[in-house]
Structures are given as structure tokens and as C-alpha cells.
Amino acid sequence: MNTSSWLDRLKAGLSKSTSKLTDGISGIFRKRKLDDEALEELEELLISADLGPTTASKLTTNLAATRFDKEVSEEEVRTALAVDIAEILEPVAKPLTIDAHHKPHVILVVGVNGSGKTTTIGKLAQHYSKQGQKVMLAAGDTFRAAAVEQLQIWGNRAGCPVITGKSGGDAAGLAYDALQAALEQRVDILLIDTAGRLQNKSDLMAGLEKISRVLKKLDAGAPHDCVLVLDATVGQNAHSQVEVFRDMVAVSGLVVTKLDGSAKGGVLVALAEKFALPVHAIGVGEGAEDLRAFDASVYARDLMGLAE
């Protein structure tokens, strides 16, 4: 996954809201003292990038600790904030690691409706297939119309088999069958798609827990990774999503999608502080190649509108 072109994509995509945020900062700090009023405005601007009131307040307080009442330039403020944000994100910027000892390495993909689970699986399948890994997909979304067909098309593109069941059938049973097939065929990586579900629907969440439990019957260590797919346009509800999914199926990492839009997913910063879950990758488009590694410093600088 290369970083130079993701930056370009991200730049183009973020230009609108980034310019808003950074214009705001320019407005506040052109030859200006860092006083209470300026800090409050700065805090609001961070909030407008979805960082949330708590994290925004923490970052501005941090800034004030060393620079309060001093004349500060806009560049200085941006850089300082980018450094602080990168520092928070650095520990969570970890790509998915496939353990070759696991045959297969089972990855369960979960998330709310429309977050981009199937597309992310399609991209991951392509990525790993290209690396020469033997990949298998399980169409565990037996609920949404044509979800299976959608995954099959991705399977065809990546050239990997897709295990499917009946529409409306038992997702846990399908996952079990898929793992059995993957074990028999000595597959390297098994990616299991699941139906989107809102985290406050306890019956649906219990269904997810069942999938995870059933897999353990065949392989006590499975699923080896459980990836929560988060939509970057989601605001503060991301907290609730991470919390509930983590408690239910032991989420091991995040993939943030739709970062090619004007949303910046600033809530990631707050999530990193609160949950410290790895951010494995980001989605920046609908194509198979639009999945990139997450680079903390690039993301932070871009969030603050700084050129690399």
C-alpha cells in the first residue's frame, strides 16, 4: 500500500472541509495573541472536524500550556496541533498482520449498515490475492438483498472462491461451513462478511457473537482478527459503535472508510485515546486499489491542512 498517491486522493477529497477548517484557523491566528477567545474558537474548529468536544478541549488546553498569551502564527498553531494529533494516533497505526501459522487466518468483518464492509472485504481480497495468498470469502450477510451477489462479484475480480448460503439463512452456520472448507482447502486467509447491524439492536448483536463462538469450535483461536468497519462521515456515534462491537465480538482493529469524501473522521483521534484499537487501513474510493495503510503523521498533517 503506497502512501504518496493516497495523500493525493485524500488531498483532493478533503480539500473542501480542510480548507474550511484551516481557513478558520487562519482567521483566528493571523497576527494574534493566543487568548481565551482564540482558544475557544480553535476548540470549536476542531469540533467541526468531528474530534468531539472532549478531545478538542484537551488539544487546545495542551496548546495553551506552552503558548498562552503569546503571539502565534497560524503555521505554528497548525503544526503544533498536527504533532499532538499524530502523537495520539501513532500507537494505533498498525496494519493487519497475517500470521502464516494460521491456516486459514480468519478475519471477521463487522459494522453498522452501509459502513462499507463488503467493499472493504473486496479490497482486502484483491490486496492479499495479489500478494500470492490463497484467499477465501464467506458471504455472511444473508439478510440484505443482493449482498451475496455483491461479494461474488468482488470474489470474481480477486479470483477467489466465495462460500455462500441461502438468503435469509443462518449466518453462523455459513461461517462454520466456510471455515471447514477453508481448513480443507488449506486456504491462507478467510474473510467473513456479516450483515450490517446497528449496535443498539441487542438481538442482532447476539447473532454476531454466535458467529464468533461457532468459529471457535473448529479453531479455538478464530476469528484471529475482528475488524470493525467505520464510516468516516459518522460523528460522535462512532464511540458507541466501537464500544458495543468491542464488547460483543472482541474487535481487534478498525478500518475507516469513505475518507475520500469531505468528512475527515476526526472522531478517530478521540477513539484512539479512548479505546487504543489499531487502525488497520483506510478506504479512499470504490476501486479495489482504494485501500491504504493508515499513516498517523500524514493523516494528522492533512487534518490540519499542512502540506507534506
Partner: protein, 450 residues
């Protein structure tokens, strides 16, 4: 985070309570916390600012002084202003155009367009008895057209046959033509998800709109959307003449601030909300529900409203007992009238009581003279105790005496007696409905017909 916010607001309002009247600085202090509440609920910053300004203007002044406690009143003002901004009236879909009426759905990827398309189609077909055709213009996402087709089969709604490789504008034209020839009332166009900053895809959406000129263009947006809601709404509005918003995943646990942001930015009404994955999980938009969710202070708001409710409850209970005994008499009617007057007459009481909007409208149309209540009380108090308990006693000469005693006419006395009979009859009916029915319909059913 939300709990501590509620606590903080309670502290602020506690202070206000002790001080009594509200100064500008009091309001400003309260507004700081309201602002945080709104931001945490994902209301976009510019919208929050505008909102706070409006509430400040509203709060500093006489309305606060009249309230039970100033703090509660501020919350009520905030809540009411939220409702106003969200759109006080519930506006549905407009289908007042020559058939087939086009409805086009647009939005970001994963916002729920395809599901919403099928839900609206099912509703129009089943509830409104319209003949509906759906077509998917989504040539981007794999199996998207297939998805709509399957949903169409599930819902029993016709979908336009899929022609592989056909482009969105051509599919839209074909759908329109097929709907026209087939005698369909409505043709629904589901489109591919697109980012509002994707110029090529936005141009494509605009081209579809130009080609078939749909009557409704609905922006489908996820209730979980964060601060970006403003950018999304602005972007889509810049390219397409949006007619309304459909908010999806309202059954989730997000605070739904995006609703306010999008409403404010587009000026378009929120026409429908999605509340589940099933095809019938589509509801009309009720601003007051979203308002209390955004504010997260439904408890305080309902506190202000509870007084009115408890009046209703007590009244209904006492009446229920009377009716069960079959003992409703003119004394009871006088009591009812007196309470009504104390609560600010009929219209005043109507304002207080939840769930009587319809009756209130009827009252307004009937153009009722509020002083009629006073006259009626006077008539009853001019009766002897025996007459009040046994209205049957009241004959011609007694009526004359009562009329002159109360300074009214015999006609008015007759009218009141007739009203009393009607009320009695109604009560008998209600006692048959059972206590539950009475609780629900109590005072509305008891309103004298004048």
C-alpha cells in the same frame, strides 16, 4: 459524557432558579452548555451558532419571567426552538403532478437509498394505493440493481427490467417511458451513492434530473452523520433542486444532530425517517421526537409538560369514578367549567393538554366565545341544589327564574341543559370504552359542543 452534561446543565439551571429573573449573562452561561450538548449530538458548528443566537433572543425577556422556574423555561425554549428549526409541520411526499410522478433518491454511499426506495414504494403502493415502478440507476456498486430487484419482488413492487451496460440517464428515460406506457402513478429512481465533491458523478445526477425532471428529489442521509452533514447537504443542494430529506437509521442510538444541520442548510423539510431494516420501517417525521433526542433533555422538557398531564390524569380518574357510579350531575359540570376557565379558557387548556391538536383546530374553526364558559357557570349557580342534582326538575318557570338570575336568556339555559345531556350521553359511551379509553379521550370527549 452525556450524563455529566445533564448534570452540568442542572447546576446552571439551579443557579438561575435561585436568582429568579434571567439576565443576559445567565442566559449566556446556560447557552455555553447547550452549545456543547448540541455539538456532542453532532449538530454542525455553524448551525449551532445560529441556533444559540436565536435562543438567546428568545430567552432574554418576558417569557422567562412567567415560567415556573427560569431554568426549566430555558430548556423549554431551547426545545421549542429546536422543533421550530426542524420544521414544525410534518410534511409528507408531494405527488401533485401528472402521472407518472418521478421520485429520485440521492445521497452518499451507504446512506440507505436502495432500502429507502423500496420502503417508499411499498408505502405508496400499499397505503396510498398507487401503482409504483422502481428503477435502479446504480451502475457503480456491484449488484446494486439486483438488490432493488429483489426488494421489489419482496414488496410486490414492479422494477424496471435490468439492461446490462445501460447508463443512468438512459435507464431513467426508459423508466419514465415504461411507467408512462404502463399507466403507473409513480416512478422511483434509485441512484448510485456519490460524494458531493465528486464532480463527475454529481454532473451525472444533474443530467438524470434534467432528462426526466422528477417531481421529488430526496436526499437520503444517515442519522449518524457528523459535522460533515453540512458539507453533504450544501454539495447536493448546489447540484440538484432537493425537495426533501429522508433520515435513515433513526432506530440507532445516535443523537441525530445531522437532522438539524441538514434542515438548516438545505431549507428542505425532513419528509420521512427510516426506523429499521424491514420494508415497513418507514415513518413520518416528528420534529419533537428528534428535538428531545438532540437535546438529550427530554426529562426536563417533559417535566414542564407534566403539570398539564397530571391535571388530565386526576380529572379523568375522578370523572371515571363518577361515571361508574352514574352520578355525573350539573355540579360536576360546573366544576369542569370552572377548571377550564382557570386554565385560561378552552384554548388555553388546549394549549396545555398534549394530544388534543385536532380538537383545538375544530374549536378555532367554530369560533367559540370564551366568555360562554362564564355564562354557563352563572346559569348553573343560579340553580337550586336540587335542580343541579336532578336536572329533570327544570321546567318552564324554573328556566325563566334561572335565566333572569344569571342574566342570560331562556335559550341559553336550554342550550346548557342540552349540552349537559350530550355530555352525559358521551360519558355513558366512554364508560363502555373502559377506563383506559376515558383516560385517553377524557377531556377532549368532555368538551361541551357549542
Amino acid at each position: 459524557m452525556f450524563e455529566s452534561l445533564s448534570g452540568r446543565l442542572a447546576d446552571v439551571f439551579e443557579k438561575l432558579k435561585r436568582r429568579g429573573a434571567l439576565s443576559e449573562s445567565d442566559v449566556s452561561e446556560a447557552m455555553r452548555d447547550v452549545r456543547v450538548a448540541l455539538l456532542e449530538a453532532d449538530v454542525a458548528l455553524p448551525v449551532v451558532r445560529d441556533f444559540i443566537d436565536r435562543v438567546k433572543k428568545e430567552a432574554i425577556g418576558q417569557e422567562v419571567l412567567r415560567s415556573v422556574t427560569p431554568g426549566q423555561m430555558v430548556v423549554k425554549i431551547v426545545n421549542d426552538e429546536l422543533i421550530t428549526m426542524l420544521g414544525a409541520e410534518n410534511e409528507g411526499l408531494e405527488l401533485l403532478a401528472p402521472a407518472p410522478v418521478g421520485i429520485m433518491l440521492v445521497g452518499l454511499q451507504g446512506s440507505g437509498k436502495t432500502t429507502t426506495t423500496a420502503k417508499i414504494a411499498a408505502r405508496l403502493q400499499n397505503r396510498d394505493k398507487k401503482k409504483v415502478m422502481m428503477a435502479s440507476l446504480d451502475t457503480q456498486r456491484p449488484a446494486a440493481q439486483e438488490q432493488l430487484k429483489i426488494l421489489g419482488t419482496e414488496a410486490g413492487v414492479t422494477t424496471l427490467p435490468i439492461v446490462a451496460g445501460q447508463q443512468p440517464v438512459d435507464i431513467a428515460r426508459r423508466a419514465n417511458e415504461a411507467a408512462r406506457l404502463g399507466g403507473y402513478d409513480v416512478v422511483m429512481l434509485d441512484t448510485a451513492g456519490r460524494l458531493q465533491i465528486d464532480e463527475a458523478l454529481m454532473a451525472e445526477a444533474a443530467a438524470v434530473r434534467e432528462a426526466v425532471n422528477p417531481y421529488e428529489i430526496l436526499l437520503v442521509a444517515d442519522a449518524m452523520t457528523g459535522q460533515d452533514a453540512v458539507n453533504v447537504a450544501e454539495g447536493f443542494k448546489a447540484h440538484l433542486p432537493l425537495s426533501g430529506i429522508v433520515l435513515t437509521r433513526v432506530d440507532g442510538d445516535s443523537r441525530g444532530g445531522a437532522a438539524l444541520s441538514m434542515r438548516a442548510v438545505t431549507g428542505c423539510p425532513i419528509k420521512l425517517i427510516g426506523v429499521g431494516e424491514k420494508l415497513d420501517a418507514l415513518e413520518d417525521f416528528h420534529p419533537e421526537r428528534i428535538a428531545s433526542r438532540i437535546l438529550g433533555m427530554g426529562d426536563v422538557v417533559s417535566l414542564v409538560e407534566k403539570a398539564a398531564e397530571s391535571i388530565e390524569q386526576d380529572e379523568a380518574e375522578a370523572l371515571a369514578k363518577k361515571i361508574q357510579k352514574g352520578a355525573f350531575d350539573l355540579d360536576d359540570m360546573a366544576k369542569q367549567l370552572g377548571q377550564m376557565r382557570k386554565m385560561g379558557g378552552l384554548s388555553g387548556m388546549m394549549e396545555l393538554l398534549p394530544g388534543v391538536g385536532k380538537a383545538k383546530k375544530q374549536m378555532a374553526q367554530a369560533n367559540i366565545d370564551e366568555s360562554a364558559i362564564l355564562h354557563q357557570e352563572a346559569i348553573i349557580s343560579s340553580m337550586t341544589r336540587a335542580e343541579r342534582r336532578r336536572p329533570k326538575l327544570i321546567h318552564a318557570s324554573r328556566k325563566r327564574r334561572i335565566a333572569s338570575g344569571s342574566g342570560t336568556s331562556i335559550q341559553e339555559v336550554n342550550k346548557l341543559l342540552k349540552q349537559f345531556q350530550t355530555m352525559r350521553k358521551m360519558m355513558k359511551r366512554m364508560s363502555k370504552m373502559g377506563e383506559k379509553g376515558l383516560m385517553r379521550h377524557g377531556l377532549q370527549g368532555l368538551m361541551p359542543r357549542m
